[in-house]
């Protein structure tokens, strides 16, 4: 999602971010190791240790992502990250009745602009429009599709600023507390919650990111 802070966005490539993360980890390791031993020196045994650590972090990262993924493809998230230009609806993620269209800015079109019906709060009663002040889909030039993506595809997409709404690491971390994202956990009558609590999700999200934001194999 594009943010309109007026501030310049710093773009990182995925690889640079990953490299920086690895470097950060290595440096942490080095500090840790040197803290433990009186006089540390980088021998071949140490390299093994580093490689092991990296492997453990990537495992941890990927494990965390599988939790993240379960939330992102649950109806409360995937319904507004559709593959097509019509949002999805309901716990069975069917095409939103009456087929409102994404529109250029993701805010709907013509007679069915999202905010016409989706107001700043959930409307009370079953089958009524849920609400949030920022209700919209990703814009047409940055669709951020979740629907139909494998865990691997989604992880890579999320880390790619060209596909994730130009988010850097900081913005990605902050996104877990975005107001519209939070809506997913207070969706109104008759809508099931995501499979994890927001707290668990946020934890997994940050764990995934901070441990290298590795994409799973599949």
């Amino acid at each position: 999602m594009k943010s309109k802070t007026g501030q310049k966005e710093i773009r990182h490539s995925y690889k640079l971010t990953a490299a920086l993360s690895v470097l950060a980890i290595l440096m942490t390791l080095m500090v840790t190791i040197s803290a433990r031993s009186e006089s540390a020196a980088f021998g071949s045994k140490d390299k093994e240790v580093f490689a092991d650590q990296r492997k453990r972090d990537s495992v941890k990262s990927v494990e965390a992502f599988s939790k993240v993924y379960s939330v992102l493809i649950s109806p409360r998230c995937v319904n507004c990250h559709p593959a097509g230009d019509v949002p999805l609806q309901g716990d069975d993620s069917h095409l939103h009745a009456m087929l409102p269209q994404r529109g250029k800015e993701g805010k709907g079109m013509l007679t069915m602009k999202c905010a016409n019906c989706h107001q700043s709060e959930n409307t009370r009663g079953p089958h009524t429009p849920p609400g949030n002040p920022n209700w919209h889909l990703p814009p047409a030039d940055m669709k951020m599709v979740f629907e139909g993506k494998s865990a691997s595809e989604l992880a890579k997409q999320l880390m790619d600023p060209a596909q994730n709404g130009h988010k850097d690491m900081k913005a990605l971390i902050a996104h877990a507390d975005d107001a519209l994202v939070l809506w997913g956990w207070e969706p109104g009558d008759g809508r099931t919650l995501p499979p994890l609590s927001h707290k668990e999700f946020k934890e997994a999200w940050i764990t995934w990111l901070k441990n290298g934001a590795y994409a799973p194999e599949k």
Partner: protein
């Protein structure tokens, strides 16, 4: 009870209702504007569409507080003399059967025509799929919107 100040069809009103009362029921029960209809109460059928600052909102799920101080236009206020291009076209094509959904249809179509003065069939479908007609007058609605576009062009 709180007093909400409304501006409906250019006229000011002050209504004494619970601010969470849907605009639909304020219009129908308190202001005697019964052209806007109740069909489902859950924003699914479009019979309750009015213009709020020009946008097509479903008054059955719109609290009257949302409309406070803003311009609201209902079917009764779409034109001075019942001669909006859509109303003229609706007559010429003789669109309605039972007529119950038609206010909502016209109000939705009015937004379409404002934004796309010469819509294609596809654009009409995109805009009008939110309005259910149980009697099945969809083909005539499409035809009337095309005709209204022509009438509108001639006026300009």
């Amino acid at each position: 009870m709180a007093t909400t100040k409304l501006k409906i069809n250019g006229k000011e009103h002050a209504v004494d209702v619970d601010p969470s009362t849907p605009l639909l029921w304020v219009l129908r029960d308190h202001l005697n504007l019964v052209g806007t209809k109740y069909g489902c109460g859950v924003a699914s059928c479009g019979a309750c569409v009015v213009h709020l600052e020009g946008e097509a909102v479903r008054s059955c799920v719109t609290k009257v507080s949302r409309a406070a101080g803003k311009e609201v236009v209902t079917i009764e206020g779409l034109s001075e003399n019942g001669d909006h291009p859509l109303q003229q076209a609706w007559e010429q094509v003789d669109v309605p059967q039972c007529g119950y959904c038609q206010s909502g249809q016209i109000m939705s179509a009015a937004v379409l025509l404002r934004e796309i003065p010469n819509p294609t069939d596809e654009e009409i479908d995109l805009a009008m799929t939110g309005n259910i007609c149980r009697c099945g007058t969809y083909l005539r609605i499409r035809k009337a919107i095309h005709l209204a576009a022509e009438i509108q062009n001639e006026i300009k």
